[in-house]
Symmetry: C3
Subunit: 383 residues, 3 copies
């Protein structure tokens, strides 16, 4: 009886699907990409919109896309250093505003894509500055540098689009290197610390402490935001966990791989303790393990390979750039992730097109639903 007309059946299945969808939405309200938020936001005042775009931008630094994660990260940065948090907030707002003024694509702006580079530039200017905290003149290059990121993002996008590649943090890496080169260590207005080699230029005199090395693994996640304190780093990890547990697991795994790579190359102990050895590995691991590729055991192995490659490339680049007093930033992870996205062969079959990249869990689910839908369809056609 319940099967007497096809239309009825279809409607029923639709209502069941929509019920399941609703329950799922309820559970996942604060996790994942929070796409539903965009609908509620349509007629809000500009200030509120900008805040949400900015918070998305903050979370984008660590490959997440969730305003709540962004808020948690900002809280962690505030805990670690209020001056850094101020610089970061200024950077993300300046570059988002610059993108609005320069007429960039609305979807990109509201997705926070124009915020994260500016935030990193602004924060790293503060980290490398040797003028101390609350040196207000620094706000000037911070604003200009953040705005410059929009130029680079917008200019690199058509180049990388040809291969469906993301711009990622290339703008940040370019701008911060140019800023440090431009000012130089002895600039009278904007002095900064020269970067030190990560490599074993001087032999490590002290014994290696295993506890400190293990402590460096979660710190590696915090170092993505140039944060070297344990508490805030764990809070940042929590923010990633809120967005996607898979991504958080890969962040820790990548940081551990990076630390291992650092040990195998006998880098300076301070690099291991502070988590600086781990953060490129973490970024490289996160990008491949779930975000840009559907998660499975194969992509998981590739993610580990990506973490190793990122970590070794980071050691190499920091040795090279260290000869002219420059930091390697996240050049290594950015380039290795780009390389992984270009790979042909077995990995490319799991690649998610750039326009459909969402949280790893969402990617997995949509693939399962799609498969299930296909099976159900097959069965119904058999009837």
């Amino acid at each position: 009886m319940w099967m007497d007309t096809k239309a009825e059946e279809k409607e029923a299945s639709r209502s069941r699907a929509s019920l399941g969808q609703r329950v799922l939405n309820g559970l996942l309200f604060f996790t994942g990409d929070m796409e539903h938020l965009n609908k509620y936001m349509q007629d809000k005042v500009f200030g509120l919109l900008l805040a949400v775009w900015g918070l998305r931008g903050v979370s984008r630094v660590i490959l997440a896309n969730n305003p709540l994660s962004g808020a948690l990260i900002l809280a962690a940065l505030c805990w670690a250093s209020p001056w850094q948090a101020l610089l970061g907030t200024l950077g993300v707002l300046t570059s988002t505003l610059a993108a609005v003024i320069m007429g960039q694509d609305g979807a990109e702006v509201s997705g926070g894509l124009h915020g994260f580079n500016g935030m990193l530039v602004s924060m790293l200017m503060g980290v490398f500055s040797s003028a101390g905290d609350w040196y207000w003149w620094l706000l000037l290059p911070a604003c200009l540098g953040s705005a410059t990121c929009v130029f680079l993002f917008s200019g690199l996008a058509p180049l990388l689009d040809r291969w469906d590649l993301p711009v990622a943090v290339f703008p940040f890496n370019i701008v911060i290197v140019l800023y440090l080169l431009c000012t130089g260590p002895y600039n009278p207005y904007f002095p900064h610390h020269p970067a030190t080699h990560a490599g074993p230029m001087e032999i490590n005199a002290t014994e290696l402490m295993a506890v400190e090395v293990l402590r460096g693994i979660p710190l590696g996640v915090g170092q993505i935001f140039a944060c070297g304190a344990l508490g805030p780093s764990l809070l940042i990890l929590g923010a990633v966990l809120l967005y996607s547990p898979l991504l958080a697991a890969h962040a820790l795994l990548g940081s551990a791989v990076g630390t291992l790579a650092g040990l195998s190359m006998a880098v300076r102990h301070e690099s291991l303790y502070s988590g600086l050895s781990g953060f490129n590995g973490a970024l490289g691991c996160m990008a491949v393990g779930g975000l840009f590729f559907t998660f499975n055991w194969r992509t998981h192995l590739y993610a580990i390979a990506s973490a190793f490659l990122s970590a070794y490339a980071d050691i190499a680049l920091s040795n090279l750039l260290g000869t002219v007093g420059l930091p390697a930033c996240s050049w290594a992870a950015t380039m290795i992730a780009t390389l992984m996205l270009l790979l042909t062969g077995s990995l490319s079959t799991y690649r998610i097109p750039m326009g459909q990249v969402m949280s790893p869990e969402h990617n997995l689910r949509s693939r399962k639903q799609w498969k299930a839908g296909k099976t159900a369809e097959g069965e119904s056609t058999n009837v």
Copy 2:
């Protein structure tokens, strides 16, 4: 009565248009791109053709395309240093001839596109040579370097064409850097001065002289041809004025912006006085303000931004390359101009396709005519 047939009206408007066109052509005979010259040149001897192609090439260095401007610039260079003028002439002729021999596209050759890189390479070899003027052996690398520019121009064109980008002075920048690296400072045959840092590596001991800084602004235009004397620099500015007043205004503006950027970064005073701080800004400003984009207040603002970015990038690159004794040449302006051409958003709507780039005034006029034609058409269809 004068409107009784549509055909009559159309003919009348056509004749009026052609009359206006003729008057305009008369006025603009020696200014702008002098396209009409190409028609008169069709059956001339090869020597004359080569001279015109070469003069166009000379003017191309400063983004103009006018044989008379080229002749004026050559005169200015001769005034500043006959040896430099000889090297420049040799460079532009060698690379143009090499392009003919290598079977490059005829329109490119006759437009002077294969001359300007060779000219710059040849002249800069003379500038950096520490063997003094009239060192005849230098003609050998000057010829070879100029011919190499054709290889690089021809090879980079297919790469950059994908994004409708010009090859610009990339070949010059690559060849001169390779030449300086190849010979090194202590070469027994071709010794050269090592480049000095632009950055504040040593603290400026002397007071800054405002008059000298102001004098550096027109010198910045001359420095595009590595010319550091005021008179010839003003003559070069005059040559640009002949091609396009808008371009000349942007050259001065960009040089001023570059000087300002230099002041803000406390570069060496000699850089400011000699105009070396200004010339990248001038090039960056000229490229965006009118040449590759239709001139209006928006592109004007972008041109100022481009000048600032070029100037800061130049300081950064000269600090970087200075560590290995290399000059930054015009890398900064070339890369920033390329970036501006790639920008998406509001700037890209004013972009002129590479094949239609002519003098800024011509671009403005053709856009106005096109708009006027559209309006008139709209009115006539209303009738």
Copy 3:
């Protein structure tokens, strides 16, 4: 009478052609690309297949594609240094296996395209290592470095494919530079010699010996495999001769051109004697003269130009990279060959599409047959 039916005539000509083909095949059984081998190999065990793929990979280093050449080269390397030959064999097998595991394109793997970069990386690690021969720990980075080449090959291919360019030895150059940077000269596990400048940083105190310089020319061919002994270098040259006499002639010519370029720039005498000045020239000359372009007197001239450009660019790059203790490897030849493939104008008309590149003799023959076929066709249609 023998011409009474058209069908009969056609069949006869076909059988004559196939007879000629068979004789030709017989003559050329062990020379050229040995494509026929692929048919006999279809059902063989994996170990044998891997060996042939590996031998093809070995010969690919010197732009050949012939398993017998590969075997000869391996013998030469074994003669020069068994440890180097072991490292090379390990490298070529590891990277070929890695490519199989990573699901790379089967035709690429069986053509040896995934082997040569790994081989070079592995061998050069041994050359630069300061831990002496038979330092077994080196096998670890050798394996990892070789496998990394597959990542880079697979990732660079889609980028370069847009312009129908080969990946060539870019992966090798990138991986070896990163490895040397990563370990640094004082690494406790993997120490290595810093590279010395090729340029005239210190004035040559000794007299130049002409015999030694001439001896450097064949050594330049051996230096493509980092082999500095005369006997093995001649054997390697013999292996190229087996593949293609034209290629071997261009290898010697290019090495001579490179030595000439080195003399003109007054490089260190050791560079000339050891053949290090010649090998980039040899590679640049081989790529243009016959391999990627149909051989004729024009491409021959371009090949000489390519050899000169490669040699000068190598001197420049080794001076640049020498400042941070890095070798220039074959960056110069790889980039100049890529540039030549991008050239527009007269050279591009002789370019062979990347998918049809075979031995120079085969390229010449197929073009002649095609021309002859066209003439015959024209005559038959006249009848």
